[in-house]
């Protein structure tokens, strides 16, 4: 440094970081002195130069320290973090068993939890595609305590009388679309014009249907059929053979799956003006009512208002409304009601899986930490600080945690679409996508799980004491690990009991005789438009020809038609009385029109008398076939054959046969008495055709060809396999059973891995002792027994705790269980047997290893 530099500059310069001083100190000093000399010689203000230079030096001082700090940090990161990362990776690679077990168990658990949460979120928390869907509710009518569809005049009176909400009504009405492409059967709804307002749906184009002949299309139909034609508004399309004007197009994402408030639909038409029979207060023409609360109003207010209205209507119209009541439910509950329990159970199971995985990895890590405590002690003795050890352990677990979270999220993303395509879920129309909230949850779970599993080893690293090499290994955490494993086995037992109970319940359900034999039966719907088939003769001729052609198909057995598909969740009822007692209360009966060999095709057995045939036509006297429950209810202890009924438009019809009861609404649900009429005596335009095949081969293409041949303008809606239709009535049970079994198996697997590694670790710790004992004459069989006993003890403790917990947990699935007691001894026994067997198998390996240890080798080591 230049000697001519004034002392004040020297002091400040010395305060600079050393790196700056060595690199630039002498040059800075040189510049300062030359500047000062220059100022002096040029005759300018020396003081000014002095101050300017000093300010420059002082102002830059803190700035340079900041830059220096930043540089050091960067250097430290690259000089210590990267090597630490490399070391940790190498360590993990050297322990592939531990790494794989940790990543897989945590990954599976995080992925599983994310998956289940995603389902829960879409189904329970956010299932409706409408704004502020929590303000939506459904209004229904109860008659004699039984849910019936809403009568139009009642809806009108509610709508006009209610001040707390906007009410809208809709009813199903499907139509055939022709022109501009192949004929298509469209699912349609007739709606009040305010429905879309009430739901909060904004139109993509145009407006609601308000007058007859106006139609609104869904986005999908607009895009697929009309190529998203922007000039679609005002265009005429052919529906059921007549022209309809398109007035609007809905935005995408409003095509809801079946059952979600509106049900899947392709087109929407105006419900008004309503047909004449709608004006009858006693007629319930399949209308549903949805409503949106006005802001600031509550469901309780709406309910009391509607109750009051229903009460005054009952007083005013005692004949039709005397036994009616109104039911108000919020839309979210309606949509997710039946899924609440199964998903709640699955959510709990996923949590159990996560806990088991965390317990397992924590246990594995603890073992590893103990095994490394020698190494750590050595490193401490060589001068490594605890923070260095802890940082390395932390990095190791960070790598594990991040990888496991990635594995979990990717797994969930890959699996979810497959899962929602799986029968029971697909039938409920759940759409699945891993969204941002799910990923956020996965990350949070990953962070928490990582922190939890890293804690025991971090604690070990913190307390690692300096040891001299050669000292014996520190005391083991075998006890801790054993209790962890016992806990996991307990959780596995609970899940297995629950899953086994559900599985047995499902078997019971499958064993129940639903009244039909659904295997190898294909069903499809045919609806003849009135414009093309104006009179009954043409309708009958069509179905006769269809019947004949379908029977001629190769592989086809019996063919028949029915007006309402059994097990499809809907039915058409009418009040029926016996002719001998016309004053009695009519019996609300499921009424059906059947055609051809329906009973044979569906597998409905004849109990007495005869089935309906083609001879039971319009010219023949009216006859009906009833089911055994109808016969027993109407004529207990008397022969129903030859007796007559009245109702459903028949003055009198004779019972000619009795068939088995069909559990029309699913085997686990209540069903009604049934009555069948021949198509020849009541020609329906819309029929479900059932074709029983000799094999399970799907004859859809051949059936399409036949129909296209008879009437190319006639569309066919989707084909359905009858066994799938039947299965869909128990999808909640199937969902809970399937996923529950999968989760139980995973938890059991994780627990067993834990048990095995704990046992192996215990053996490893005692290998010296075993060797010495064997050298002293102990038998290898005894040692093996001893190790097995230890595993058995852990297993037994786990099973006991698990059974206790299962007694309480099975309450969660009570509503899903059918035909099996909630506390089912068989399921409990099954779960215990599985856990015990698998545990013994898992403990046997380490036990054999213990028995096989070489006393000579041990003695040599000693």
């Amino acid at each position: 440094m230049s000697p001519r530099l004034p002392w004040i500059f020297r002091v400040v310069l010395r305060a600079y970081p050393s790196r700056f001083r060595t690199a630039h100190g002498s040059e800075v000093a040189e510049v300062i002195t030359s500047r000062l000399a220059h100022a002096r010689s040029a005759g300018g203000s020396l003081a000014l130069a002095y101050v300017t230079l000093l300010v420059d030096l002082v102002v830059n001082l803190p700035l340079e320290w900041v830059s220096a700090g930043r540089r050091t940090q960067r250097r430290r990161l690259s000089s210590t973090l990267l090597p630490d990362l490399r070391i940790s990776l190498r360590r993990l690679r050297r322990a592939p068993g531990f790494t794989a077990a940790a990543v897989l168990s945590l990954g599976v658990a995080i992925g599983g939890t994310t998956l289940v949460y995603s389902l829960v979120r879409t189904v329970l928390l956010d299932p409706l595609p409408y704004p502020e869907s929590e303000r939506l509710f459904v209004v229904g009518e109860l008659r004699d305590g039984e849910r019936v569809s809403v009568a139009w005049p009642n809806f009108r009176d509610w709508r006009d009388g209610v001040t707390t909400a906007e009410l809208a009504a809709f009813g199903r009405s499907s139509m055939n679309l022709t022109g501009d492409g192949p004929a298509e059967r469209l699912r349609g709804l007739r709606v009040t014009p305010n429905l879309f307002d009430a739901l909060g749906v904004a139109f993509q184009l145009g407006r609601s249907p308000e007058a007859p002949g106006e139609v609104v299309l869904t986005h999908a139909i607009w895009a697929n059929r009309y190529g998203s034609d922007p000039a679609i508004l005002g265009r005429s399309i052919q529906l059921d053979g007549t022209g309809w004007t398109v007035t609007g197009v809905l935005p995408p994402g409003i095509e809801f799956p079946d059952g979600v408030v509106l049900g899947a639909s392709d087109i929407y038409t105006s419900i008004e003006p309503v047909p004449a029979d709608f004006e009858n207060r006693g007629s319930h023409p399949g209308l549903a009512v949805v409503a949106r609360l006005h802001s600031g109003r509550t469901l309780v207010e709406a309910r009391s208002e509607l109750d009051a209205l229903a009460h005054s209507l009952a007083l005013e119209y005692p004949d039709t409304n005397g036994r009616s009541a109104v039911v108000v439910q919020d839309a979210l509950t309606v949509v997710s009601g039946s899924l609440r329990r199964p998903l709640g159970f699955l959510g709990g199971a996923a949590l159990v899986l996560l806990l088991a995985a965390i317990g397992n990895v924590a246990g594995l890590g603890l073992t590893r930490a103990v095994a490394r405590s020698g190494e750590w002690g050595l490193r401490r003795a060589l001068g490594a600080g605890t923070h260095q050890l802890m940082r390395q352990v932390g990095i190791e677990y960070l790598i594990l945690g991040v990888t496991a979270t990635l594995v979990g999220v990717c797994g969930a993303m890959v699996l979810l679409p497959r899962l929602v395509a799986w029968g029971p879920i697909a039938q409920m129309g759940i759409s699945g996508r891993i969204g941002r909230p799910d990923i956020a949850l996965a990350l949070a779970l990953g962070a928490v799980a990582t922190a939890l599993v890293a804690t025991p080893p971090l604690f070990r690293a913190l307390t690692a004491t300096r040891v001299t090499p050669g000292a014996r290994r520190a005391t083991s955490p075998v006890r801790t690990r054993e209790s962890l494993v016992a806990g996991q086995l307990a959780l596995a037992t609970v899940l297995l009991v629950v899953a086994a109970t559900l599985g047995r319940s499902l078997m019971q359900i499958n064993a129940v005789d639903g009244g039909i034999r659904p295997a190898n039966v294909v069903a499809f719907r045919v609806a003849l438009p009135e414009a093309d088939y104006p009179d009954e003769g043409e309708v009958s001729a069509f179905f006769a020809q269809l019947q004949e052609r379908l029977e001629a198909l190769p592989g086809a057995g019996s063919v028949g038609g029915i007006s309402t598909l059994p097990f499809s969740g809907s039915g058409s009822q009418s009040g029926i009385r016996t002719l001998s007692d016309p004053a009695a209360d009519p019996l609300r009966t499921d009424v059906n029109v059947v055609d051809g060999d329906y009973f044979t095709a569906a597998g409905v057995e004849l109990v007495r008398g005869r089935l309906l045939s083609d001879a039971d036509n319009a010219e023949a006297p009216p006859v009906v076939v009833v089911d055994e429950t109808f016969a027993a209810r109407m004529w207990p202890d008397r022969d129903p054959l030859g007796r007559s009924i009245t109702g459903w438009g028949f003055q009198s019809a004779e019972v000619v046969g009795v068939v088995r009861h069909v559990k029309n609404y699913g085997v686990t649900r209540p069903s009604r008495e049934e009555l069948y009429v021949s198509h020849g005596q009541r020609a329906y335009r819309s029929m479900w055709m059932l074709v029983r095949g000799e094999t399970s081969a799907h004859p859809a293409p051949m059936i399409r060809a036949v129909i296209n041949d008879i009437d190319p303008n006639l569309p066919i809606a989707s084909f359905r396999l009858m066994d799938e239709v039947v299965a869909s009535t128990v999808s909640e049970v199937r969902l809970a059973t399937g996923l529950g079994l999968a989760l139980a198996a995973l938890v059991a697997l994780i627990a067993v891995i834990g048990l095995r590694s704990t046992a192996a670790y215990g053996v490893q710790l005692r290998v010296r002792e075993f060797g010495i004992r064997m050298a002293l004459g102990s038998e290898s069989g005894r040692i093996r027994r001893q190790v097995l006993q230890r595993s058995a003890l852990v297993t037994g403790a786990g099973i006991l705790v698990g059974l206790g917990a299962a007694l309480i947990t099975t309450r969660v699935i009570e509503s899903l269980v059918f035909g099996v007691p909630r506390i089912d001894p068989t399921s409990f026994g099954l779960a215990v047997a599985v856990i015990a067997l698998v545990s013994v198998a898992a403990g046997d390996g380490p036990a054999r290893k213990a028995a096989a240890c070489d006393p000579a080798a041990t003695l040599r080591e000693e």
């Binding site: 630039h24 002498s26 800075v28 510049v31 420059d56 830059n60």
Partner: protein, 110 residues
């Protein structure tokens, strides 16, 4: 480095411009910057060397040579190819900016 580097500070522009002419040591650089900017930019020595540090960390300049004379060492700096392209881009950016401002002024005046 990114395709659109952050704008340079005026001091940095002048230092790069001076080095674009010829490699220089610190003191020479101070004089050249002062004369190039017609006295508008006169960085103090600490500011200068911190700026040089920062420019070299961004690979805009590099050390060409270190001259030793007795106990005195002088570092000679030169502009890198990256520094030259960055400066050219900066000049272009300034040109467009002034052009636009000029147009705005003219249209406001008419």
């Amino acid at each position: 480095m990114g395709s659109t580097p952050a704008p340079l500070r005026p001091r940095e522009q002048w230092i790069l411009a001076a080095l674009a002419e010829a490699p220089l040591h610190g003191y020479g650089l101070l004089e050249r910057v002062e004369s190039l900017s017609a006295g508008a930019v006169r960085p103090g020595p600490a500011t200068l060397y911190r700026t040089l540090n920062s420019l070299s960390e961004r690979a805009l300049i590099e050390v060409a040579a270190v001259e030793s004379q007795g106990d005195r060492t002088r570092t000679i700096w030169r502009i890198t190819r990256h520094g030259r392209t960055t400066l050219t881009a900066e000049v272009e950016r300034l040109r467009t900016t002034t052009e636009r401002i000029r147009q705005a002024l003219e249209s406001a005046g008419s």
